[in-house]
Structure formats: C-alpha cells, structure tokens
C-alpha cells in the first residue's frame, strides 16, 4: 500500500511567529490555534484513507458448470466437492482483466495479505502458489477449468478438517507478472474469496408428537446448529422405521429457510385408513451453488403416522350441517330465497330516501 507523504512542518502556516502571537491574544483564538492544526493535520490522513486503492474483487463464476448468480454472496465447496476434488472444476473471472494474458495464482487464507512479499513464504500455510503457474487468461478475463484439487494441493485449503465449517479462503491472482520477491500494488492482483464447508447440519430434534393418528401429520423441529444458514429442509417417508429405506425412497417434500415444520396428508402419502408411515426430516445447509445441493444432515428420529378418519363439529350425529344452503339467496333445495333481496331492497329504499332528504 502506498503511503502518502506527510506535510512538511515548514509549510504549516501557524509556524509564523507573528501570526501565532496574534492568534494567542484571545482565549477563542488560543482554542482555535490548538484545534486547527489538529484538523489540518487530519486532512491528509483522511485523504490518504479515502484514495487508498483496495484489492480487486475477482470471483469464482462457475463450479462444475453451474453459474453463480450475482445474488450469491458466498462461494462454497462442500463435502461432495471435497470427496472428488480432482473432478470439481471451477472458473475464475478477473475483474478489470482486459489486457491480462496470464495470471499467477496463489491460495491463501482469509485476509492473508499474499500481495505482501513477507506473507508469501513456504514456512506457513498462509499463502502458497498453485501448481501450473502462470495460467492463461481466456475469454471474458476468465481462467477456465481450475480444479479444487489444485487448491487442496497447496495445503492451504483443507478439505479434511471437519471443524472448519465454512472456513474462508482466497485465491490471489497476480496479473501478468510473477510476484517474485516484491510487494504487489493493488492494481497488480485480485482476490477471489471462497469457503470450504464439509460439515453437515446436526440431526434435527423433532418437537412434534412421535405418534400421530389422523388424516394429516405434522413433523416439526427446533432449528439445527450449523455455522451456515439452512436454506432447505427435506421430508422423507418409509413404511418401516428405517432411515436408509426413507432415503432410498427419495425426497417427499421440501421447505425453505425459516420453516419449522412439514404437514403432509394421507392423500399425499397414498395411505388408506389403518395404514402406517414413518416420516423423517433433515436439514441441508447452503454450501452449494444451488439451494438443496449443500451438505445434508442425518435424518431425524421417525414420526409414526397412522391414517384414520377424523371428525369435527359438523360430523356430530346431532348436528345437521348437511343440506345447509351456502348462500342467503339460495334455499337448501337450490331454489332462490327472497330474504336477502327483501333486506337489500329495504336498505336501498332507505338509503335513497336519506340521500334525497
């Protein structure tokens, strides 16, 4: 980072003895002479902060062919990617990359400061070069077909340590020239952030009744613990109390972020009265390009649903809801009723009379 030169003391106006004597002659001026130099001195410091160039924001734009949209705020490699890093391909797009023919890629931890020569040592796992440098920059200032394996090989990026839930890393792309033993100015490099999250959400703790009988069943849970948010929950069903069987049957339903329950009917489950079903739920974190492709937690304990006929107030044998007309203009036998029309007519006459009056 360039450092703006501090102003020379000999150029400070208040060094003038004559002027200073005049200013010290009143209390207000003494205060002014105390504060003003401070303010004046602060101006170049503020200016240097304001004009300081920040690193350029490169971005991973596709992972395994899936394009990251502009609203994606975090780029993840998840457990599925880490299970096969050699076949996890991604593209890196350089900002302000016009005229950049090649780039030297380094893997770094978050805020590693790899542009500083002192941080680019092999002694720590702070900044390490990726194999294959320099990389050719193709169309749209993009470096194509990089692999997660190349990042893992630097040993900076860790796909094994499950304690690193969503650990942030960076790819430093030095433009055109090998950084060598020099500090690199901001215009000479860019940084693309990404995260590695191989830890699935915890198993959901259900709050709904473990055994339910009726024509609909509810599976509700407490929010699971995960360092990242949970954008999707999944519901599974099986005829036996076996999570593997439920997984094999596939996803029955999904709900999005902030939801806390599923409700499923016997109709959706194709159950007839007396039949049973075991329901399971799991959480999927956001460590993916597409919602639902993140790390999936283990299935919850089961909820046993037993299909049964249910009844309400209208089903009471002493309550006659059947045959009730649903409209005041229709009688139970479907014939028109004059009741509402009479009331409406009276109200209309009265309203008209009042308005005229």
């Amino acid at each position: 980072m360039s450092v703006c030169p501090q102003p020379s003391r000999k150029h400070t106006a208040f060094r003038s003895r004559t002027l200073a004597r005049g200013l010290q002659s009143s209390p207000h001026m003494r205060l002014a002479t105390t504060l003003l130099p401070t303010l004046v001195a602060a101006i170049p410091l503020s200016a240097s902060t304001g004009v300081a160039q920040t690193e350029q924001a490169d971005a991973i734009t596709t992972i395994n062919g899936e394009t990251l949209t502009a609203d994606v705020t975090k780029v993840y490699f998840n457990a599925a990617n880490c299970a096969d890093p050699a076949n996890t391909f991604f593209d890196l797009t350089l900002v302000n990359g016009d005229g950049v023919q090649q780039a030297y890629l380094w893997a770094g931890t978050e805020n590693a400061g790899c542009e500083q020569e002192t941080n680019r040592t092999d002694q720590t796992l702070r900044c390490r070069p990726m194999d294959g440098n320099p990389r050719t920059v193709g169309d749209n200032a993009t470096i194509f077909n990089l692999t997660l394996q190349e990042l893992v090989d630097t040993e900076v990026v860790d796909c094994e340590n499950t304690s690193l839930e969503g650990a942030p890393f960076s790819i430093y792309a030095f433009r055109n020239e090998d950084p060598g033993g020099e500090n690199v100015a901001a215009e000479g490099y860019g940084v693309a952030p990404f995260r590695v999250d191989v830890t699935p959400p915890d198993q959901l703790t259900l709050t709904s009744a473990p055994v339910q009988e009726g024509s609909s069943f509810s599976v509700a849970w407490n929010s699971p613990t995960d360092s990242q948010r949970i954008p999707q929950y999944r519901l599974y069903a099986a005829s036996t109390d076996d999570p593997d069987a439920a997984l094999a049957n596939g996803i029955l339903k999904t709900v999005g972020i902030d939801k806390k329950s599923f409700t499923v009917t016997t109709g959706e489950l194709s159950l007839t009265s007396g039949e049973e079903v075991y329901l399971f739920a799991s959480a999927v974190d956001e460590a993916a390009v597409t919602i639902g492709d993140g790390n999936q937690g283990p299935l919850s304990d089961s909820t046993l649903g037993i299909a049964a006929e249910t009844s309400g107030f209208c089903d009471d044998p002493n309550v006659d809801c059947s045959g009730c007309s649903v409209s005041p203009i229709l009688l139970p036998d479907g014939q028109p009723s004059a009741g509402l029309w009479v009331i409406g007519l009276v109200l209309a006459i009265v309203a008209g009379w009042r308005i005229r009056r």
């Binding site: 009988e213 009726g214 609909s216 049964a308 249910t310 009844s311 107030f313 009471d316 009730c324």
Partner: protein
C-alpha cells in the same frame, strides 16, 4: 317498520326539531365497531369437544335512524356483519359417542354472522339531562354463514334465526363539548360513544351456531 321509516314528512319534522338545537346537525346514521366473545351453543358438548375459546367476534354495524320518537329517541333499521373464528383438534371418527379422542388433524371453524335489525335508541336521558347514557334495544333476523375445516375436508353452510341485543352506550361529548360541536360542524358527527352490548342469537335452523348470550363492546359514531 317500513311504514314508519317511509313517512318522510313526519320524520323531517322530528329531525328538524332535533336539529334546531344549537350547533347540532340532523342525526341520521350510526356506525359502530364491536369486539366481544361469541361461542356457538348447540345445547350439547358437540362444539366443546373440538373447539376451545370464545372467538373473539368482530362485529361492525351500520344503522339508519329513520324516525325520532318524541321524548324517547330515534328508531331505525340496521345491518351488522362480522367474523368469529375458533381453532381446535379434530376427533378420531371412531371415538365413543360424547367423547373425543384427539387426532393429529387440526380443525378450524369460522362464522360470518349477518344481522338485520330494528333499532331503538333511547337517548332522552343524554339529550335532556346531563347524564350521557344511551340505551338501545335491537331485534332482528340473524343469518350465520359458517365454514369448518377438518384436516383436508371442508364443510360450509348457513343457519338463521331470531336475534336480539341490548346496548348501553356512554356518549363522549361531555368530555369536551366544544370539540364535540366542532366535530359536528366540520364533519357532521353528532356524537361518539363507547358501548357495551349483550345479545343473543337463535341461528340454529341447520347447524346450531347461535349463541344464547354473548357480548360485544366498542366504539361508535352517530352522524
């Protein structure tokens, strides 16, 4: 009722007399909003087995004040329409009679009452003495639409029957008479009032959804 309401000459004379009070415009309408407790009373435990709570019921009302009975108060007709809702747990269909074995299904019952009423407001006390109380009596015809949702099934229908109400209102003009007069001059609002109303409904022609005794309370305006 209609004969009384459609006697314009008589009504005009009475209104004019009433309006001749200093700073008081003719009082022809009443608008109120009441909130209270309503619970169908079928005469058995059928409703209580499934639903809990007393609503609440929300019941706006609009009255046309057609004729002022001397030394008593205005008489008119009105219509009120509202909503009340209840939630509960559906019973297993094989529950023993008179009992409810709870199922996993939720149940929801909604009422939409529409009441056509003849209204008598006895405001002589408020008009001729410093006591700002107004008594009202109402009788009419209640129609109650209802909808029940049990699990995925729905039932809808309508019941009707006789309805009545007795209301005690506290007119608020005495709080600040000058502003009350200004409200009348600017907006034609004669008075505002708090009210408490006891009522009954015999809307049991089909499903017994009437409540023999319920109450509402709220705020109203005459204008």
């Amino acid at each position: 009722m209609a004969a009384v309401g459609l006697s314009p000459d008589t009504a005009r004379a009475e209104m004019a007399d009433y309006a001749s009070k200093e700073g008081w415009s003719p009082e022809g309408y009443l608008l109120s909003l009441g909130i209270g407790a309503y619970r169908p009373d079928p005469g058995s435990s059928a409703f209580d087995l499934v639903y809990s709570g007393n609503g609440p019921i929300i019941l706006p009302e609009f009255d046309f004040l057609l004729y002022r009975i001397p030394f008593v108060g205005p008489i008119g007709i009105g219509v009120a329409g509202g909503w009340a809702g209840y939630k509960g747990t559906a019973c297993l269909a094989n529950s023993a009679p008179g009992t409810c074995e709870p199922s996993s299904d939720g149940a929801k019952f909604s009422l939409f009452p529409i009441n056509a009423l003849v209204v008598l407001r006895i405001d002589a006390l408020a008009r001729r003495t410093p006591v700002p109380l107004v008594f009202s009596g109402k009788v009419g015809y209640n129609t109650v639409f209802f909808k029940e949702t049990v699990g995925a099934s729905k039932s809808t229908g309508r019941s009707h029957g006789f309805g009545w109400a007795a209301q005690l209102a506290l007119e608020l003009n005495f709080v600040n008479p000058r502003r009350a007069n200004a409200l009348d001059e600017d907006w034609g609002i004669n008075s505002s009032f708090f009210f408490f109303e006891l009522a009954g409904s015999d809307a049991n022609s089909r499903a017994p959804v009437g409540d023999k005794l319920y109450f509402t309370g709220g705020l109203g305006l005459t204008f």
